[in-house]
Structure formats: structure tokens, C-alpha cells
Amino acid sequence: MPITEKKIGWDRNQMAQKAAFDIPDGSYVNLGIGMPELVSGFVPEGREVIYHTENGLLGMGQVPENGKEDPELINAGKKCITAIPGACFFHHADSFTMIRGSHIDICVLGAMQVSQEGDLANWSTGKPGAIPAVGGAMDLVAGVKTIFVITQHNTKNGDPKINEKCTYPLTGKGVVNRIYTNLAILDVTDNGLFVRELAPEVTFEYLQKNTGAKLNQY
């Protein structure tokens, strides 16, 4: 498998910034646990985005000041958060009405694997003995209108995370719309994966070498 020889491309914050730039003004957005959470720090000037957290809050704000944490005001990652003016609380069935009923515009999720057809695997390696844990991921990919994935382009071993097929158990089939990695932004289309933007110093050939599926240029 190809290995990324030197550190080129975007860092985590730059990846999050790229994703944030593609979220239109007025969007209702659900952010997955981990790197997706960074996206909320980069809303471009002049836009208002409302964050949903599936444990029952629409209008999630920034992290609370030290000492102002409330263990009953948390996000899906079970971290303490705040609520903006105009926020509202609701129970789990209502929260997943927003998700399953396609009221959330965009969800940004992490990934273990993505296929060229937009299949996503991000909940289980499928290894025997591993404790499976799915949370709300399957509901999010089934219900939210647009799914962004934000992920390192390759695993720590250098294996591509974007391949023709996923080998891990799926979270959803044909659900991913766009992928933000440290090397590029990719669109998942009916005609395959298209490169939307390359990170600085990253060439198409380099990107292709680090990807397990055929890439196309617009």
C-alpha cells in the first residue's frame, strides 16, 4: 500500500475550515464526534448556522467557560456545551424526527472507510470480540439530506480509507456526498469520485496513488 512520504496537505483545522466553507447560511447541521466538532469553529463571516445535537438540543453553542460546565447540558460526544439564545430542548424521539425526517440539512461525520459509491463504514471494524457501538450514525446517514465526511485520507499504516468497496460493516450504502481529507476534497457522484480541490503541493497523481478507487477530474 502507498504511504504518504512526507507531511503535505491540510491539517485538521484546515480540513474543518474547508468543510465549514461549504455549509450555506441558515443551515441546520449535525456534527459527529471528533474532527467534525472542529467545523463549528470556522463558520464564515456573515453566516448563521444552527447546530443540532441528537441528544436533544437545537442551537448548540461553544464550549462553556471553565467552572460553568453543566453535566446536564452536553453534546452527543458527552462533552459539556452551551445553548445559544433561540435554542430549544426536546426528547429523543423528536430529535430523531429531525434526523430521520430529513429536516437536518448537513451532517459532518468521521469515517473508517468510504467507497467510491458513497458507502460509509464508521461504526465497527467487524472484528470478532470487538464491542459494536453505533449510536446515531445509521439514522444520520439514512435521514440527513447531505452527508459530508471528514477524515484523514489514509490510515496510520498508510492504507487508503477511500476504496472501491468498504470491507468493514456499513453504516449506510450510497450515503456520502462529499469527502474532506488532508489531501483533497472529493465529490461522490453517480459517475464516480471527482476531485473538487487538491490541497497545496498535492498532485492528482499523488492523490490517486493514495486512494483505493479511481479518481476523476472535473
Binding site: 452536553i74 457501538a133 439514522d139 439514512a142
Partner: protein
């Protein structure tokens, strides 16, 4: 006169029997009825099937109930938790069953159980291992899987304010599974931080109507699970 208030958590959980299906509210520690769970540990009912989003942290609350070998099976969406070794250890040893359910499907199955809807179709989990063996059908060109309601013998729920009719309000994201779990059990047992007179809760802001509640017990200053875990506390205390 209708008065659902009971004096102690022990009295509240006294009827829970071996083999019961028990819904336990909470998302992580937020909304987890830790004092009711500890009363259930003291009570000792075993072979329980517990439905809760997670499996608890450290050695208190839900994790302690599991550690005390009272739980035969967990139905949840996210059994891996930070600071949790209890469920994983038993799971690896095949000493506890797990039914993994997507979080939205879990919520909807509980809501359906309370609403007299025995089954419904959902797009969640289609084309994944969690849909295997389940009935599916195409409706207007899209594939859905059929899921059955979850109905329980008991619910253990934490709320914020309650009155003697069982009307409840919750606090922030501690609401989570509480309102739907109240509807889906034959007996719903609630711990509240505060009890007020009927009418003191504005009828427009009641979240759980009293009809869904069987017993209410006041626990004025509930323990914060994360604090107990940070202090490495255990229940029962050793």
C-alpha cells in the same frame, strides 16, 4: 386523591421483579436516575433486560447494576463508554447479552411501545448488518426495514420538577429518553429534584403528562455520576 409520591427510592423500586424489562433514562450521565438504580441494586432483582442508550461508567449507577450481575441483557445504541470496563469485561466473557439498536430506532421503538404502535418501517440501518434477518420492504422506491415496539415492565426516569399527579419537567439535555420511556412501561418510576403543588407547573410546559407516571420520589441533590467516577467510587460502597 391521586398522590403518586412515595417516600423512598427503596419503596419506589420495591415491585421490580426478576426477569423484568426495565427502561433506564439518560444519555451518558445526563438524565440517568442514579439513586433509583442504586435502590434497584439494594433491591436485588436479577435477570433484568435493561434498555438504555449506554452501559454506564465506572462502578456506580448503571455500570454498578451490571457489575452486580443483575442484568441479563442490554438493549442499547452505544455500549462502549469512556471510563467503562464493566460491560466490556462481561461482554468479552459472554456473560451478558447485547442487542445493538441504532439510536433513532431505539427512540422510535420505545415511542411506538408507548403509543400502541406495534411495528413501523424505518430507513435507518438498511443495507447494514443491523438490518439482517429483519423484514424489509420498498415503499415509493425506497427500502425500509420493519422494527418492533419496545414495551417494558418498568421505567426508571430522572426528571427535574414533578407534582403529585406525575406531571414532569426536565433539565436541558437530561430530558433525552425520559419522556418516551415514561410512556412505554407498565410502571413508570421517577426521581425528581423537586416536588411542587399541582398547578405550579404551567400546563403549557409540562413535558410528561402525569398519566404516564406511576410513582414519584424526591431526590433533592442527586449524585453526579462523573464526579463519583472521578473519585473512583463504587456502589455498593465497599
Amino acid at each position: 386523591m391521586i398522590n403518586k409520591i412515595v417516600k423512598s427510592t427503596a419503596e419506589a423500586v420495591a415491585d421490580i421483579f426478576d426477569g423484568a424489562v426495565v427502561l433506564i433514562s439518560g444519555f451518558g450521565e445526563a438524565g440517568s436516575p442514579i439513586e433509583l438504580i442504586h435502590a434497584l441494586i439494594d433491591h436485588g432483582a436479577k435477570d433484568l433486560t435493561v434498555v438504555s442508550n449506554n452501559t454506564g461508567s465506572g462502578h456506580v449507577g448503571l455500570a454498578a447494576l451490571i457489575e452486580n450481575k443483575q442484568v441479563k441483557k442490554m438493549i442499547c445504541s452505544f455500549p462502549r463508554t469512556a471510563n467503562s470496563t464493566v460491560f466490556p469485561d462481561l461482554y468479552y466473557k459472554n456473560e451478558i447479552e447485547l442487542e445493538l439498536v441504532p439510536q433513532g430506532t431505539l427512540a422510535e421503538r420505545i415511542r411506538a411501545g408507548g403509543a400502541g404502535i406495534p411495528a413501523f418501517f424505518t430507513p435507518s440501518s438498511v443495507n447494514t448488518p443491523l438490518a439482517e434477518g429483519k423484514e424489509s420492504r420498498v415503499i415509493e422506491g425506497k427500502t425500509y426495514v420493519m422494527e418492533y415496539a419496545i414495551k417494558a415492565d418498568f421505567s426508571l426516569v430522572k426528571c427535574n420538577v414533578a407534582d403529585r399527579y406525575g406531571n414532569l419537567t426536565y433539565n436541558k439535555t437530561a430530558r433525552n429518553f425520559g419522556p418516551i420511556m415514561c410512556t412505554a412501561a407498565k410502571t413508570t418510576i421517577v426521581q425528581t429534584k423537586k416536588i411542587v403543588e399541582p398547578g405550579e407547573i404551567d400546563p403549557e410546559i409540562v413535558v410528561t403528562p402525569g398519566i404516564f407516571v406511576t410513582k414519584v420520589v424526591e431526590v433533592t441533590n442527586p449524585e453526579a455520576e462523573s464526579k463519583l467516577v472521578a473519585e473512583d467510587r463504587r456502589y455498593p460502597c465497599q
